[in-house]
Symmetry: C2
Subunit: 239 residues, 2 copies
C-alpha cells in the first residue's frame, strides 16, 4: 500500500494530519506493508523570505479579523496540535517561503531520508521557531538527520530539485488537489485533510479489504445491510 502525502512545511494541519495518520498506522494490522512518500506542495509560492508581521497579524490581515480573533483561531490550532503531542509555538513562528525546504526534502529522498527530513523541517518550523528558508539553518537540520552538510549547501546554492518540486505540484493539480494535507492511496483513493485517526484507520482498512478481495468490484454499502437470497436460502428478515 502506497500513501503519497502532498503537504507544505508551513501548513499547520499537515503536521497535525501527519501525526493523526501515524496514530492510525500504529493500529493498522498491515502497517509493515505501507510505504509513505511525501510530495511537495507550496501553499503560497510567492511568500517572501521574511516579514515584519507575526503569524497573528498575518492571519488577521488574511481573514479580515482582529489580531485578537486571529490569536484565538491560532489557539484552536495549537490545541488541536497538542492533542497529538505537538507543542506548536506560534509566538516564535517565522513565516517564510518553503521552496528551498521542499528542494531539500527531495534531495533527502534520493538518500532515503525523506521521512526524517520532512519530520525535522516541520518540527523546526512549528515548534522551534526556525527560519526554514535560511540555507545555513537547512544545512544544519539536514546534517541532523544524516545528510552531508557540504553537499546540502551545494544543492541549495544551485537550482537542483526545483523542477522535481514543481513537477510534484503540477501532479497535485492534475489530481485535483486544492488543499493540503492530501493523501493519495495506491494512486486510486484520496483522503483530503487532517482527518481524525479513526477515519484514517477505517479508510485504510476499507482500502486494504477492497484491494485484497477476490471480486474486482468495489462495495459501497456496509456488509449484510441488504437482504439477499443465496443458494442456501433467503435471509430470514428480522421484524
Amino acid at each position: 500500500m502506497k500513501i503519497e502525502i502532498w503537504s507544505d512545511f508551513a501548513c499547520p494541519f499537515c503536521y497535525i494530519g501527519k501525526r493523526r495518520l501515524e496514530i492510525a498506522l500504529n493500529n493498522f494490522p498491515h502497517k509493515d506493508n505501507v510505504k509513505i512518500i511525501y510530495k511537495s506542495f507550496e501553499l503560497d509560492p510567492n511568500t517572501s523570505l521574511s516579514t515584519d508581521k507575526n503569524i497573528h497579524e498575518i492571519i488577521a490581515g488574511k481573514y479580515g479579523m482582529s489580531v485578537e480573533e486571529a490569536q484565538q483561531a491560532n489557539q484552536n490550532i495549537i490545541d488541536q496540535a497538542k492533542e497529538v503531542g505537538l507543542n506548536y509555538d506560534f509566538e516564535n513562528l517565522k513565516p517564510t517561503n518553503t521552496f528551498s525546504a521542499h528542494r531539500l526534502a527531495k534531495f533527502a529522498e534520493t538518500k532515503g531520508l525523506l521521512a526524517e527530513m520532512t519530520e525535522r523541517l516541520l518540527q523546526a518550523y512549528f515548534i522551534e521557531g526556525k527560519i526554514i528558508s535560511d540555507h545555513d539553518t537547512l544545512a544544519e537540520l539536514a546534517s541532523e538527520v544524516g545528510l552531508d552538510k557540504e553537499e546540502v549547501v551545494d544543492v541549495l546554492g544551485s537550482n537542483q530539485y526545483s523542477e522535481i518540486v514543481r513537477g510534484e505540484e503540477r501532479e497535485a493539480s492534475s489530481l485535483g488537489v486544492q488543499g493540503v494535507p492530501f493523501f493519495v492511496i495506491n494512486r486510486k483513493y484520496a483522503v483530503s485533510g487532517a482527518q481524525h485517526p479513526k477515519v484514517f484507520l477505517d479508510t485504510l482498512n476499507k482500502i486494504w479489504e477492497e484491494e485484497n478481495k477476490k471480486s474486482p468490484l468495489q462495495t459501497l454499502t456496509p456488509d449484510n445491510s441488504g437482504t439477499t437470497c443465496s443458494t442456501d436460502g433467503c435471509e430470514i428478515p428480522r421484524k
Copy 2:
C-alpha cells in the same frame, strides 16, 4: 450509468429490491442516463419443476423450523413487499425451476423487452401464483409483453439461450456474487441485497459524482470532514 442486476425470479428479495431501486431512481436526477440490464442467476438450478410441498413447508424444512415459524418468516417478507406496493401471495406460490424463465428473459432481451419480461415473470410468480416453468404459461406471459407466442414456444422447446444463461451465472461467480439481488454499477461498484431506497439513492449519487468529477481519484471520506490549508489560507477550526 449502467446497472446490471443479477437476480432470480423465485427470489423474494429480488422483486422487493427491484422496486426499491426503482423508487430510488425516481429521485435520481440522472435517471435518464441509467441503463438497467437484468442478468441470470438461479438460486437453485436443481429445483424440480413441481413439488407437493407449499412454500411454508419448504422453508420449514430448509431452516429446520416449524411450519408456523416458516409462516411467520414468510409473513415478514410479505410485509416488506407490501411496503413497496407488492402483494405477494405465498398461499398460491408455485415453487419451481426458473431456468426456462431465464432463457425466455434472455430471448426477450434480443427484442428489447428484457425489462418488461422480467417484471412480468416476477409478478406471475409472486403475485399471481403462476407456474413459471410451464412453457404454455411462459408463452402467454411473453405474448402479453409483446413477444411472438409461436416464436417463444420454439425457443423454449429448443435449448436456445441456455448457454447465455449459464454464461451470466459464471460471470456472477467471477464477480464474487454469492447472493441476489446483486447490483453492479459501471462494472466497477457493487451493491448487494435489497437495500432501502435511500441507500440506493445515496450510492447512485456518490457513484455519479465519482465518475463525473475531474480527479481520477476516489474520495472515501465525506467532503470537508478533514481540516486543510489551501492557497486561500487554512480553515479556521471551530471550537
